[in-house]
């Protein structure tokens, strides 16, 4: 954009090319932002309305009587909600650890090397995602129960389970990212004396960071929000998603409470995403050789 502006003809009157470029950009951005934000807006304001207001017609655009009662109710209705937040964080972080380490390694291998059976393996990674999760849910639950991992205080079983889906995704994303990173960079680094590992950590990894951050976001959000397996595999030690689901999600006639539960669940995920997004942005000014 900048270079384009610099090269634009300094002609008569308004520089149309520059003007329309920027305006178009902002228009497009505004349009898309509106499309995204309107539903979110309603989710959140429904959480701050009383039951009577939530069901009024037409729905007011802003709550007349702003109330925090729904959140209060949500937090006190079930004693397990607070501990479940910690548990969800634990699951999410553990899953990221598993997915990035195992998946990242495999992704690097796919991107850099050629070896026999590669295509078959690549497909099989994808294969896993293609099999509807619902059919595997129960046998997986039984497996973990037999391993004695049912409903543990530290939700290792859930992390292992979520790892399955996320490793595959991470492999694909990281392979795609590593492919985009010029191999010669690593070669040159090794010529200059770095070991293969060193080249990887000093050169490739920083360049791959946006992709890895993308994979991390996916993994976190997925683990944080996942509810089917979580409800199967926990009882006394649920994750936030499981507790929220059992507390408010199934409720008809309690839209204000459902929204409060959903909004509450969304907050930490939004914060994590906000942090990671900065990480992606930082890489803009990153290494360009």
């Amino acid at each position: 954009m900048v270079s384009e502006m610099a090269l634009a003809p300094q002609g008569v009157g308004v520089n149309w090319r520059r003007f329309s470029g920027l305006t178009m950009t902002y228009l497009a951005v505004a349009g898309i932002a509106l499309f995204i934000l309107v539903p979110v807006y309603f989710l959140f304001i429904l959480a701050f309305m009383s039951k009577a207001e939530v069901y009024s017609w037409p729905l007011p655009l802003f709550p007349q009587h702003f109330t925090l009662d729904n959140f209060r109710f949500f937090l006190t209705i079930n004693p397990k909600i607070i501990p479940s937040i910690w548990r969800s964080i634990e699951v999410a972080l553990t899953t990221i650890l598993i997915a990035l380490s195992i998946g990242g390694l495999a992704g690097y291998s796919f991107a850099r090397f050629r070896f026999r059976g590669k295509n078959a393996l690549k497909l099989s990674v994808l294969f896993v995602r293609m099999y509807p999760g619902v059919a595997v849910a129960i046998p997986m639950a039984v497996l973990f129960m037999r391993l004695g991992l049912y409903d543990t205080p530290f939700p290792i079983a859930l992390a292992l389970n979520y790892g399955v889906g996320n490793i595959g995704l991470t492999i694909w994303i990281t392979a795609s990212i590593f492919l985009g990173i010029n191999e010669e960079l690593e070669e040159q680094a090794m010529v200059l004396g770095l070991s293969r590992m060193g080249a990887f950590f000093r050169i490739t990894l920083p360049l791959a960071a946006p992709g890895l951050a993308a994979a991390a976001i996916y993994t976190f959000i997925g683990a944080w929000n996942e509810v089917v397996i979580a409800t199967l595999m926990t009882q006394f030690n649920p994750t936030l998603a499981a507790v929220t689901y059992h507390t408010v999600a199934a409720a008809a006639g309690s839209l204000h409470l459902q929204s409060a539960g959903g909004a509450f669940m969304a907050f930490p995920a939004l914060i994590f995403t906000f942090i990671i997004k900065r990480y992606i942005i930082q890489m803009w000014g990153g290494v360009r050789i």
Binding site: N119, M130, Y131, V134, A135, L143, G163, V164, N225, A269
Partner: protein, 297 residues
């Protein structure tokens, strides 16, 4: 020590790549293959042993063909829509305009919301006295005594459109992230060189950016397609079972509501078969099978 990567490869023996993959493989065998196998076995388990009757049932079930049709229509339209939108957003963000980082965050929001909220938002949005109609009334585009019944029975095309809007809303960030990550790996030099040679923005996009972005596009499309084929929760929440039949929803219906586990399992296998075929077809057509290259896929 070898100076060339290729040399290093053969020197260490060709096992090095395998070492990196083994953790993943072991992991999958332990935590996925085994449970999945029992799920697969279920589809063949009749009361008297091995049987194919559940598959026969599915093939004869008229709902199956409906579900197939709807799933594919949905797949085709929604992935296209999402891709175009996501590409637009990714390109916009990549230009680095002021406020781009906030825009990035906004674009990520739909992905962040829990499933329950997602269902609740759109179910209440499309309700006759829901927020969509309320908004339209406030803006003056709708008469409060005649609110549109978006979910009225029998308007399949309308339902499909509603579903696509809701899913596009939700799926946009997933695709966008992959494309954006890919975009950022493309050196600015390419764009500048193109500019110097007088290419317009659009030409740059077509001839330079997109081909360079191909690995990311491919990843995004396939992943999104796999996700789209498996859509079901949102449909059940907004429309209920069987009103807009789609593949996984049928499987779950048999599995959960009618308690025909084998039928559900058979359905699941068929779904997987379809997705595998599609993916292989796509990959083959796009030339990914040309040798087992390290790059250029």
């Amino acid at each position: 020590m070898a100076t060339k990567l290729g040399g290093l490869r053969t020197k260490l023996g060709s096992y090095y790549p395998y070492y990196l993959i083994i953790p993943a493989i072991l992991y999958y065998i332990a935590f996925w293959a085994i449970p999945a196998a029992s799920g697969v076995a279920l589809a063949f388990q009749g009361p008297k042993g091995f049987t194919l009757r559940y598959f026969q049932y599915v093939i004869r079930d008229p709902y199956f063909y409906q579900a197939l049709g709807y799933t594919f229509v949905f797949l085709a339209i929604s992935v296209t829509v999402e891709f175009i939108l996501a590409l637009a957003v990714a390109l916009l963000i990549n230009t680095g305009f002021k406020g781009a980082s906030i825009f990035l965050f906004v674009a990520l929001i739909p992905m962040v919301l829990p499933e329950i909220s997602y269902g609740a938002i759109w179910a209440t949005g499309y309700a006759q006295h829901g927020w969509l109609n309320s908004l339209l009334v406030h803006v003056g585009l709708m008469d409060p005594s005649q609110p549109m019944a978006w979910l009225a029975y029998g308007k399949i095309a309308r339902w499909m459109a509603l579903l696509i809007v809701a899913e596009a809303w939700r799926g946009l960030p997933s695709v966008m992230i992959i494309l954006l990550a890919g975009l950022q790996g493309i050196s600015k030099e390419y764009g500048e060189a193109a500019r110097i040679f007088g290419a317009t923005g659009f030409q740059t996009l077509r001839k330079i950016t997109i081909p360079l972005l191909k690995p990311s596009i491919q990843t995004a499309l396939i992943l999104r397609a796999i996700g789209a084929v498996q859509i079901f929760v949102i449909i059940t929440v907004i429309f209920g079972h069987r009103n807009l039949p789609v593949l996984v929803e049928e499987a779950v219906y048999y599995f959960r509501e009618l308690h025909q586990k084998q039928l559900g399992a058979a359905y699941a296998l068929i779904i997987m078969g379809i997705v595998v075929t599609l993916s292989v077809l796509y990959l083959w057509l796009s030339g990914s099978f040309k040798g087992e290259e390290g790059r250029g896929e």
